[in-house]
């Protein structure tokens, strides 16, 4: 049910590596400000510039945030050891990155998608961010640039890297994974996780295999995906690229590729040599982290309500679709919905209003007001068109719908009066009535229009139709 079958016979396999910038006050290994948008090279010190003689000291808040995220993802939180990942690149002040390798903080968790599947999380570890390199030349891409400029403000910002198992099988799942991960991060308050600002970055590992195959084939890592839409496009492009190669008797090379948004394709990445040998070894300048059971218990106790729990509360309500639940939680309107329902509003209508008519915000609207509005609609005291208008006013200036409806002159014509009107019209327009009764549905609009005219629009169209049909069948 969750397979996305490409071209009849191929299965998509995706694993996602997500990097999240933590919203600490200071960097991971020094007391420089963790701040976006400063003048280049102004949030730096000997440590994050990698000056000779400098030494790292780890930020305890970054570690705490990492453990919180680990527990939210149901990982085990372990004794961890920092390691050096050695390679030369100008955005790395030490020409090695301090990360975690075989003893990371978090291991073996899972992320529950809104649709219910659990995607395995292999690990979530702590590492430092690099500086930012800008390529100056014709295209802003590396190839074709004349030189590059480096700013180290970002060097040393704390990152958590979350690595999923290759258990994602559709593009929708991939997007849902990132959205849900983001929602969890926002619920924890550890990052603002904005893809467009780079505080959350997604790399996709993509491979395909024939339907029914057991083993995993060669995968490529896709970088430079800056939105969920691009993620989908990139995965699709890359999967098709692999399939084409296989169908031509070739196979993809294991490599890193970059997504080119403008051209709509991936391109081979930079290393012309063999896979980089990072020569990982334990970071001698830092000591192991060994959180106590008490600390982990505290983190569990203080865990805020996560999106899956919030959706769960809505799931028991009748008539609420799972896509609506996800949307409400994403917009932070789920608690409001539950309050309105508790206040007497019928769940399906409450959710419908929130989903369809309140996407730009709740303003001054209260749950009690929404509950009353829905009750009025259900008792036909107000048409749905009128309800929308009243809702708009409630958002603008608050108050209760009954008062506002009166103020706006929205008096719905009562059922008795409507019946009388319809009967009157049937008498006055017997030809048209006969046509309607013999099945001419076009005439229906004529009758509804007439009723609306006499009531200056204060009639519920659905009820008019109901009455017409009743009269017709009783003939």
């Amino acid at each position: 049910m969750n397979q996305e079958i490409f071209k009849d016979n191929w299965e998509l396999i995706v694993g996602l590596e997500v990097h999240v910038e933590l919203a600490t006050k200071t960097k991971l290994f020094c007391g420089c400000l963790n701040q976006f948008g400063s003048e280049p090279n102004t949030n730096v010190c000997p440590v994050c510039l990698g000056l000779p003689g400098s030494l790292p000291v780890v930020n305890e808040t970054a570690v705490y945030y990492a453990m919180q995220l680990g527990r939210a993802l149901r990982c085990s939180v372990n004794r961890s050891v920092f390691a050096r990942k050695n390679y030369f690149y100008p955005d790395m002040p030490k020409d090695y990155q301090i990360s975690q390798y075989d003893m990371p903080t978090n291991l073996n968790g899972y992320l529950e998608l809104p649709t219910g599947e659990a995607i395995g999380i292999e690990r979530a570890h702590i590492e430092e961010d690099t500086g930012k390199t800008t390529h100056i030349g014709t295209s802003g891409r590396i190839s074709g640039s004349d030189y590059s400029l480096v700013d180290y403000n970002r060097a040393g910002i704390p990152l958590i890297e979350i690595v999923s198992e290759p258990e994602i099988r559709t593009i929708e799942q991939a997007k849902a994974y990132v959205s849900e991960l983001r929602n969890i991060i926002l619920a924890l308050g550890i990052s603002d996780a904005k893809m467009e600002e780079g505080s959350i970055r997604v790399d996709a590992n993509v491979s395909v295999r024939e339907n029914g195959e057991d083993n995993l084939r060669t995968r490529c890592e896709i970088k430079n995906v800056n939105s969920l839409k691009s993620l989908g496009r990139a995965i699709e492009y890359e999967a098709n690229r692999h399939i084409s190669l296989y169908e031509n008797g070739e196979s993809p090379k294991q490599e890193t590729r970059h997504w080119d948004e403008d051209a709509g394709r991936t391109r081979s990445g930079r290393s012309k040599e063999d896979a980089e040998d990072y020569r990982y070894f334990t970071e001698p300048d830092l000591v192991p982290l060994n959180p106590s059971k008490e600390t982990i218990a505290k983190i569990d106790q203080e865990m805020p309500e996560l999106p899956s729990e919030r959706r769960g509360k809505l799931a028991d309500l009748n008539g609420v679709k799972s896509s609506d639940m996800t949307l409400l939680v994403e917009r932070d309107h789920d608690a409001f919905a539950l309050d309105a329902i508790k206040g007497g509003g019928e769940p399906e209508k409450v959710v419908k209003h929130l989903v369809n008519n309140l996407s730009s915000g709740l303003g001054a609207l209260t749950p009690e007001a929404l509950a009353q509005l829905v009750q009025m609609e259900n008792k036909s005291e107000i048409t749905s068109t009128q309800a929308k208008k009243v809702l708009g006013e409630l958002v603008q200036r608050g108050g209760m719908p009954a008062n506002l409806a009166t103020e706006l002159g929205f008096e719905v014509v009562g059922l008795n009066d409507l019946e009388k009107l319809v009967d009157q019209l049937i008498n006055e327009h017997s030809d048209e009535w006969e046509r309607f009764c013999s099945g001419d549905t076009k005439v229906q609009g004529f009758f509804v229009g007439q009723v609306m005219k006499s009531t200056s629009g204060q009639a519920d169209g659905k009820i008019i139709n109901q009455i017409l049909n009743e009269r017709a069948t009783s003939e």
């Binding site: 510039l49 000779p52 003689g53 030494l55 000291v57 590059s148 001698p284 000591v287």
Partner: protein
Amino acid sequence: MNSVTPEQYQSASEIADLVATREISALEILERHLNKIEEHEKDVHAFNLVTINEARAAAKETDKLISEGENVGPLAGVPVAIKDNLCTKGIPTTASSKILEGWNPPYDATVVRKLKEAGATIVGKTNLDEFAMGSSTENSAFGPTRNPHDLTCVPGGSSGGSAAAVAAGFAPIAIGSDTGGSIRQPAALCGVVGVKPTYGGVSRYGLLAFASSLDQVGPFATSVKDAAIVHEVIGGYDPLDSTSIKQAPNSFVNEIDQGVKKLKVGIISELMGGIDGITQEVIDQTNIAVSTLSNAGAQVEEVSLPAALYCLSAYYLIAPAEASSNLSRYDGVRYGLRVDGANLQEMNVNTRTEGFGDEVKRRIMLGTYALSAGYYDAYYGKALKVRRLLAENFAELYKDYDVLLSPTSPCTAFKLGAKVDDPMTMYVNDVCTIPSNLVGHPAMSIPFGSGKDGMPIGVQILAPPMKESVMYQVAHTLEKASQ
């Protein structure tokens, strides 16, 4: 013998007393030392840079503060020479390498800050083997330092400049760094006291890293008491160094006279003849030290440290591995030498190829190899296990013994150029000192007699982690006896 050592050494603690009580000014003390430097530095080449103006300004400031009634600190007006791999703000710090020639750090190493706060007058930056890699100071990009006892001989290394500065009387105290013996071995060859503290006992913040899990900063002095005073000043917890010990021991001077009665001293048999290149005169002097301690009331026995035989190999895998990573940052991008290239990678290669000397290149390649895919387990991984074995050996011994004893260097100072052609021959100089670095234990060398050519011999005292007090007591006893 071509010697430029002074008749008598003036002690740092004496100087500090005289300056603090205003019997002599800090400036006067400085000028006396600058004169000595002027006279013999051209022969010794202990310094990469003598910071005459800064020193005068600092000495004047010290005198001013004292005249205002301020307590300037335990090293008031004492001239100190700093190894040129420690950051001194505003003063070039080169690690004796072309790749950092002229680089001016924007900050002081913690040790440098502490010395300034204690009232010391920094007289200059001393020569070293490039990036602290060597045992003779012949690997410096700026020419070798010569042993003040015999200018045709090496001073030892890598802190040869600091050892020579003290031996020549240029400064009563100096600071060096010790990764495999780089304080103790030159101390022995130059006939001065040299101490490697417990790992984490002195901050490494501002020390240009060679091998991070082995490096320690420590003092050179002409007496055990002076060394202990400097150690107290520079030691202690530093929040800028994650490997710094919170309860670092910091009181050595008060108990220095305790003597050695009832102490149990173990002589490491593996280092008393079983090794390459150890000379009979060194063994003889060490035995005399043993008798001295015995006569002073210590219980002395031979002990075995089996893992000692593997230390040289383990060290020459671990140290270069860490060094290969620590030296990656010298890439021509942010500071220091840049030799241009058609693209970034070529620039990196050109810069590092021209900027590093042969020994540094050797060790970087050796270290890179030891860490590389496929070889990690056989080399680096194994070496880390030898380290654990060694720690267990030591722990066993220290259940029964208070300190251990060995020679510091297998031989006295050799001639300049004698060992430059074969790296292995040079590496063997460190065989007695390396074990302490691998396990992070304190150790020190004190001058104890000389060889037939009159060149100094040093004896090494090793102590358990954080037990420097006992080490200093034993050293003090031996020092008194040898006077």
